[in-house]
Symmetry: D2
Subunit: 131 residues, 4 copies
């Protein structure tokens, strides 16, 4: 279990959503922020400007979404849904860009897979919040 999973479990405030799904999404989003930051750096070195800038955007929205999901104290359903929707959209766009170079660059192959997983996780959490 990661420290963040223990933290969410020991929070004095509960979010109105399945805890396991919430923790899994937060962990995927932080791993995504890390993955897209590193993929952006590799794409900058490979001179792939559009893919680099797309990865930078994805890293920033994944990090912000993970943080907002971690703040049970300030939970607001409308904000959470809107931010998850923006994150899902950005992850799908980034996945499409990285997939175009997946055979050429190992970092883009790994990043594209990670982006797809995160987009799906955001989608599941949006559904869970709507239920």
């Amino acid at each position: 279990m990661t420290s963040v999973a223990e933290l969410v479990r020991s929070s004095p405030t509960d979010l109105p959503v399945d805890e396991k799904l919430l923790i899994e999404t937060i962990e995927l989003l932080y791993d995504g922020a890390a993955t897209c930051t590193a993929c952006a750096d590799a794409c900058i070195a490979e001179n792939e400007p559009h893919c680099a800038a797309t990865c930078l955007n994805c890293a920033d929205i994944c990090f912000t979404t993970a943080r907002i999901l971690s703040r049970a104290t300030g939970f607001d359903a409308d904000t959470t849904r809107a931010v998850l929707t923006a994150c899902e959209q950005t992850c799908r766009t980034c996945a499409e860009h990285c997939e175009r170079h997946a055979e050429q660059y190992e970092h883009c192959r790994v990043c594209a897979e990670s982006c797809r997983r995160r987009a799906d996780a955001c989608h599941r959490l949006i559904d869970a919040l709507a239920a």
Copy 2:
């Protein structure tokens, strides 16, 4: 003129949107990230937990939105609209929270006004991108 305005003007890539509106929105969002970060700190000191956490969320999405708007190289209309929508929603939620303490705390009064201005700026830019 701020440095960021000069930067956007000297970018080798043009965004398909009015430059003046874009620069104004980016500047408002960075000022908002700064304002909400400081208001969160003041609300933590005043023991206003819900307002503090809402300001932290707003600071993060304002900063991420400002960054994404500054990346002409990775511009994607769907991503930009979704992120601006999330930012507008978060700013409106934060404005509502801070307005409840506007008479009690000067920092919440200033922050609420700043949040309204940013929400409106995001809305105008969404309209401009749709046009």
Copy 3:
């Protein structure tokens, strides 16, 4: 293996430091950014203002340090050392604050342990860069 570990391994640029130590530190720092963000939220809810603000500071510097370590393309030894030194200092300060509430709050106990591990990891990497 996390995605970020795969990413660092597939980067076209090598950092002049042991790859295993580098990946371990990056992973600890991202987990720390996540842990301190969640601990700050819990401390806000518990009305522990000083601990909340300290955790917010620690989350931000951990995230920035993780990002700078992930950018092999822009590697600069002086910058890396100065940032790691600031991160180590901030993690030690945060550990001290959270330890004071470790018996009272499970989130502060977990966060303090995580802060100590990160401070030590930063220290090891500073030594490795100096060698």
Copy 4:
């Protein structure tokens, strides 16, 4: 007066440092985070990988330093000095890189000047904290 200046002035907590110098530094650092983010995007488009990655590092540490300076509630002198030192170092490194392209790219000329101003502001604040 920017919103962030009003916010710092209305904070319930005072920092043990000259308020005018503090506000000026915070404003310069946020403008720097904005400037370096935009310069990184321009450098990515111009295929200047090392300068792009250096600007990304500088944007991140400027933003984190501005945030830490805005959190009077969690003020810790050792942390503040260490973070300002890291920020000054990163701004000087970024200034050197951008200056090499100052005649070729207007964005690098503006960014280099902005980096020098911020490095000097960080230095003055470190001196003020030591006094």
